[in-house]
């Protein structure tokens, strides 16, 4: 098997060039998908027969909660790749994805609370799904704080990678929390693998929103990573000439 692509991934210069070509496409796709999904979900999808129109919060709550968990898995994979193959780009990805994941977890918790008030009659309950999601937020905070607290970049990368890998145990707990424990939280309504528990005209806008939020994540992550790569490689000749070109244009 040809592994050159994998080793190329470790090259900051290669990453910088390729990500620069991809970023605009992700940005455009995110804007289009989120725009279409929002209008579709808010105005055209039928109201829920029990929850009425408050269920429309699902179109932001679920995609963002998905992303919050996928993003954490990405941190763990990046941590593993960084520890095993010593690819420095893995640490860049880990450090840049962590704040985005934290914000996504924050949105999932806040929109969940706002949805809970009219639906359950309370903003917050200490049940398994909500508590494990709050723990996810604290894991993100821990990784961000650890990355900033350790001055030596290599030690910081190692510590964050270990925390990310250990913390990934929380992800299956979040996923199965609604099955393992009694919960006010409804079980999964959106799934790609089984027949969805909602009618097509409710499910399709959700699919569009999920795709849109992943494209958004890709665009924002690349944006952060490109700046971080430029900072870390500032002494290399390619980065120097890139910075000169950017400064000249600005």
């Amino acid at each position: 098997m040809n592994w050159t692509w994998f080793h190329k991934l470790g090259s900051p210069k290669w990453f910088y060039e390729v990500s620069g070509r991809w970023l605009p496409w992700f940005a455009v796709a995110a804007a289009l998908l989120l725009g279409v999904g929002l209008v579709w979900g808010l105005a055209f999808a039928p109201p829920d027969y029990q929850q009425g129109n408050s269920f429309r919060i699902i179109y932001i709550h679920v995609p963002v909660a998905f992303l919050a968990q996928s993003c954490y898995v990405l941190l763990a994979v990046a941590g593993l790749v960084g520890l095993v193959w010593r690819i420095k780009l893995a640490d860049v990805a880990l450090q840049c994805a962590a704040p985005i994941g934290a914000w996504m977890t924050f949105i999932a918790l806040v929109t969940g609370a706002i949805w809970g008030k009219p639906t359950w009659g309370t903003w917050w309950v200490w049940d398994a799904r909500l508590t494990s999601m709050l723990i996810l937020l604290f894991l993100y905070f821990g990784i961000i704080a650890l990355g900033q607290a350790i001055a030596n970049r290599d030690s910081a990368a190692k510590a964050c990678a270990v925390l990310a890998i250990v913390g990934v145990v929380n992800i299956p707990i979040i996923k199965y929390s609604v099955e393992w424990w009694n919960s006010l939280h409804q079980p999964a309504t959106f799934t790609l693998t089984e027949k969805p528990a909602m009618p097509m005209e409710m499910w399709l806008p959700m699919l569009v929103m999920v795709l849109g939020i992943y494209c958004f994540f890709a665009a924002v992550l690349l944006l952060r990573m490109r700046l971080e790569v430029l900072r870390r490689e500032a002494r290399s000749s390619w980065a120097k000439s890139e910075i000169k070109a950017l400064v000249g244009a600005a």
């Binding site: 055209f44 109201p47 944006l223």
Partner: protein, 58 residues
Amino acid sequence: MSFSSFAEFVAMGNHGLYVWSAYGISLAVLILNVVGPLLARRRYLQEEARRLRREASK
């Protein structure tokens, strides 16, 4: 269209405050996540421009 008028759309069947505040907060956070890195990039390039000018004048 699942609403018959714009007023009905805004009201969201008496759940307007919940729906719109949820989307408002989410949108604000998403925008923050785009604008933040863009500003950081601009700040960095301004710093670098200053540094390059300093070095050139030496």
